[in-house]
């Protein structure tokens, strides 16, 4: 600014020089004094900016050329390390996902909500509620979502909902932990189904021993195991818990203190078809009847052993970044909505009226009039969010549990971890911060350009 000013002044000076040389000297003096005064006024701000912004940036850049201890010059070594370190590459990938997804979703959501809230009666109250999360610090929001995303449905509200919905469509299996005792006549892989090793003919009985059921997981009605005698056209037997308290029993035998497992579905299978099916009684006994003569396999179908639904592993390696972006949306939606709402209020009503008069549908009005008129505001919101997302730190740091922290890291968290969170490699950390700065600069320049244009 100052440069163009002086250039212009000088040009003007030169133009007038010939006409009035003598008075020009006095005027030049006055102008020079003015300029000096301007410098004096600007100086404090320049000093502050220099000390707080320019110097640290230059220092970080210089530091990024040295190793962890800061006493060996490594040139671009740290920048090479960034490209080679898989953990840092993961952080760069995550930052890219964040920058693309979060501002887009937020601007879209904000636009939708702003347009919709304009039409509801309690708009202010609604906006207030949506804006409230902005008043919550990222730290607190992080703790809240860390709990909400917890895997255990007893603790994590999201999984409680997911499991609740899932379970209302199907009953949980009776014996999720049960499994066959190996080498005692039953085979099958973990989770069932389990079938008898050999075949059974009608008129015979089998005893099917299972283990891995905790005493308090056996239904209270269970009685001591007793085999049912088979009918001539059927197979009898018992399903029982082959583990006496204290481990006293003999594997494969029904010992004193071993209970039947009631409610277990038992099937007789021949040539891959279920010929008969029944459910075991309180003492674990069952009778499969109506069987023609032949060789059958007795099978305990997998449905008996289905593991309870665990819900979604929100904080697992695959979902952790989307989950944290979700938390970020919760905090920032109100901001986007309010800003876009303000822009919406400034749209000239007559344009909308005219369109309506011409018979445009609400959808057309939204697409062809509201959005184009709003586009300056939308861009500001979008770019502001991009800059904000670049530096997201607290949410990622708090929500991601230790085992998946690397999978959740973004540039800012990676930078901090590398420099201070144990690595103490401030050379590499500085290099990361320089990269981060370079990535933010285009967005900054864009925003400043816009401000200047709208100011002019």
């Amino acid at each position: 600014m100052a440069d163009t000013m002086t250039a212009r002044d000088r040009a003007r000076d030169r133009a007038r020089a010939g006409a009035a040389r003598a008075p020009a000297d006095g005027r030049r003096l006055a102008r020079r004094r003015k300029r000096r005064l301007a410098v004096v006024f600007v100086l404090p701000a320049l000093l502050l900016l220099g000390a707080l912004v320019v110097y640290p940036v230059l220092f970080s850049f210089g530091r990024s050329l040295f190793d962890a201890d800061g006493d060996r010059f490594v040139g671009a070594g740290n920048y090479v390390a960034i490209v080679q370190d898989p953990a840092t590459l993961k952080a760069i990938r995550n930052s890219a996902i964040w920058v693309v997804v979060a501002p887009t979703l937020l601007t879209g959501l904000g636009l939708m909500l702003a347009v919709l809230t304009e039409k509801v009666r309690w708009a202010t109250a609604f906006k207030l509620v949506l804006f409230l999360p902005m008043a919550v610090s990222f730290l607190a929001a992080g703790i809240i979502f860390r709990l909400a995303y917890e895997q255990d449905p007893d603790r994590g509200v999201l999984n409680a909902a997911v499991v609740g919905v899932h379970d209302s469509f199907g009953d949980a299996a009776a014996y999720p932990t049960a499994r066959a005792r190996e080498g005692q006549g039953l085979t099958g892989s973990a989770g069932g189904p389990y079938s008898t090793e050999g075949t059974v003919r009608p008129g015979r009985s089998v005893s099917l021993g299972l283990i891995g059921v905790a005493p308090d997981a056996v239904p209270a009605a269970a009685k001591a195991a007793a085999a049912a005698a088979p009918a001539t056209d059927g197979i009898g037997g018992v399903v029982y818990l082959d583990f006496a308290p204290g481990g006293a029993g003999v594997p494969g035998r029904i010992d004193a203190g071993e209970n039947g497992l009631p409610g277990m579905t038992v099937e007789a299978v021949r040539d891959g078809r279920v010929a008969a099916s029944t459910v075991s009684a309180d003492d674990g006994s069952f009778r499969l009847t109506g069987l023609a003569d032949g060789d059958y396999t007795v099978r305990l179908p997998a449905a008996n052993f289905a593991a309870p639904y665990q819900g979604v592993n929100w904080l697992g390696p695959a979902l952790v970044t989307p989950a944290i972006i979700g938390a970020y949306l919760w905090v920032w939606t109100g901001f986007a909505m309010v800003l876009i709402g303000a822009g919406l209020a400034a749209i000239p009503r007559d344009a909308l009226e005219a369109a309506r008069m011409d018979g445009a549908s609400e959808g057309q009005i939204f697409r062809k009039i509201t959005v184009p008129l709003l586009s300056p505001v939308l861009t500001v919101v979008f770019v502001t969010l991009v800059i904000n997302v670049m530096k997201v730190f607290d949410l990622v740091y708090i929500i991601a549990p230790g085992p998946v922290q690397e999978e959740a890291n973004v540039l800012a968290t990676r930078m901090w971890l590398v420099s201070f969170g144990g690595g103490n490699d401030q050379g590499l950390g500085s290099a990361l911060s320089v990269v981060l700065l370079l990535l933010v600069v285009p967005a900054m320049v864009f925003n400043i350009r816009r401000f200047r244009r709208s100011g002019a």
Binding site: T177, G212, G246, G247, Y397
Partner: protein, 443 residues
């Protein structure tokens, strides 16, 4: 692990943030009792340490006893989790404490190398020589000078179990690692999975590895690996990882499977064994598990919660992995001489017995009367710690640079968590560990 504190370690990040606030509020520790005219009356000794809560209160009892004896006033200053940063900034600010209780070997060495420490007095060295096993003196010695007196110890080779689960399954305390896995499988047969594993906290996994490695490969290899003089790709490391993997990959042994274990933090793992809805029969960690079981779940130690020493692996010696807090005297303290006296006092059995009576404490000093410990379980751990004598080894991850052995989501913590998720490739894990270690040790 970093801090064998008995307090819960839930979501370390948030907790430490909260802690920072709390420390701001409580940063000025209390001054204890008036001087009673002893040899040091009128002097004030400032002691810094990481202890908070009941640990801090009990340590203050020791300081009170010192005051009573010598007349010196004592002030305890909590340092927060990061002792090295704390002490560094205090020295720079010209306000250094006289005595610091240092919780990690690596930090002690760092202090000594920075030239911040005074060698301990002749008398302390003599009394340490007769009461501490040489290994404890070695951990306090840097470049031939004796700087750190180990005052408080932790026993990190205890496997805790619910006696009712063992009774139900009909198993006894195992004597070998193979027996332990066998007992675990019987436990699973009885319907209670064997181990609660706190996979969300990486330090519990490093402790698992260290116990197996110490027993299987022996103390010499352990020391070499701790100093990174042998590579992590060494055959002994692969073997220990394979042994650990045998446990990790067995669905019957890991409660809820690896996925659940990775979402379980340390307090939760104790709750899975001793809480109201038990989901596992055993939990391995240090002696502080007992404290959590007792304080949080009302278990009576010795009847409702018991432990057995981590059993020997493959015919080796049963491991005793340990840790501890060492007292060091700072050069820049204002009352170095009185500080020396305090450390001399701490080296005697009298000081240790004060804390032992208060509970939550183990002393490496073999002259501390076993009767001073409040309960049978603590006596058991203290006994085993002293009996291990010179075969004790310090927590390896505590000796490593923090980037490798002490950072959430990085280095050894992260790699062992990945190994818990998929234990199929010990060789590959060893290679990755070596890559990280080489980076962190810089050799």
């Amino acid at each position: 692990m970093r801090r064998p504190s008995t307090t819960t370690r839930r979501t370390a990040a948030t907790a430490s943030a909260a802690l920072a606030l709390a420390l701001g509020a409580t940063a000025c520790g209390g001054t204890t009792g008036p001087a009673s005219g002893g040899e040091l009356s009128g002097q004030t000794v400032t002691v810094a340490g990481v202890w908070t809560g009941s640990e801090q209160q009990n340590f203050k009892k020791v300081l009170d006893a010192f005051t009573e004896k010598t007349g010196a006033k004592t002030v305890f200053v909590p340092s927060g989790d990061n002792v090295s940063t704390f002490v560094g900034s205090k020295i720079e600010g010209g306000n250094a404490p006289d005595v610091v209780m240092v919780p990690q070997v690596g930090v002690l060495q760092q202090f000594a190398k920075e030239g911040w420490l005074l060698p301990l007095s002749e008398q302390t060295a003599r009394s340490a020589g007769s009461t501490l096993a040489p290994v404890w003196r070695n951990y306090g010695t840097v470049d031939g000078a004796y700087y750190g007196l180990y005052f408080k110890a932790a026993h990190k080779s205890t496997v805790w179990y619910a006696p009712e689960a063992f009774a139900q399954a009909g198993v006894n305390e195992p004597k070998s690692y193979a027996d332990m896995l066998k007992a675990g499988r019987t436990l699973a047969d009885s319907g209670r999975p064997a181990f609660a594993i706190a996979g969300e906290d990486g330090w519990t996994l490093t402790d698992w590895f260290e116990n197996i490695y110490l027993s299987q490969a022996g103390p010499e290899k352990y020391d070499q690996l701790a100093q990174h003089r042998i590579k992590w790709t060494d055959e002994s490391v692969v073997r220990a990882l394979t042994t650990l993997g045998d446990l990790f990959k067995d669905k019957q042994l890991v409660a809820g499977g690896a996925q659940t274990a990775l979402g379980t933090d340390f307090p939760t793992s104790v709750a899975q064994v001793f809480g109201p809805e038990p989901k596992a029969g055993m939990v391995y960690e240090g002696d502080f598990v007992g404290g959590v079981a007792k304080d949080q779940f009302g278990r009576k130690l010795g009847t409702d919660a018991k432990f057995f020493p981590f059993p020997a692996v493959d015919g080796g010696k049963a491991p005793v992995v340990s840790g501890g807090d060492a007292a060091v005297v700072l050069k820049d303290g204002k009352n170095g001489k009185a500080g020396m006296k305090l450390v001399e006092y701490l080296s005697g059995s009298e000081a240790a017995e004060v804390w032992a009576r208060a509970g939550g404490f183990l002393s490496p000093n073999k002259e501390v009367g076993i009767a001073a410990y409040g309960d049978e379980i603590t006596r058991g751990t203290a006994d085993s710690l002293i009996a291990a004598g010179d075969s004790i080894r310090f927590d390896m991850s505590d000796q490593a640079p923090a980037a490798f052995g002490g950072t959430k989501g990085a280095g050894e913590w992260k790699l062992l968590q990945d190994f818990l998720r998929d234990p199929s490739d010990p060789q590959g894990t060893a290679a990755k560990l070596e890559a990280e270690a080489a980076k962190a040790y810089g050799n």
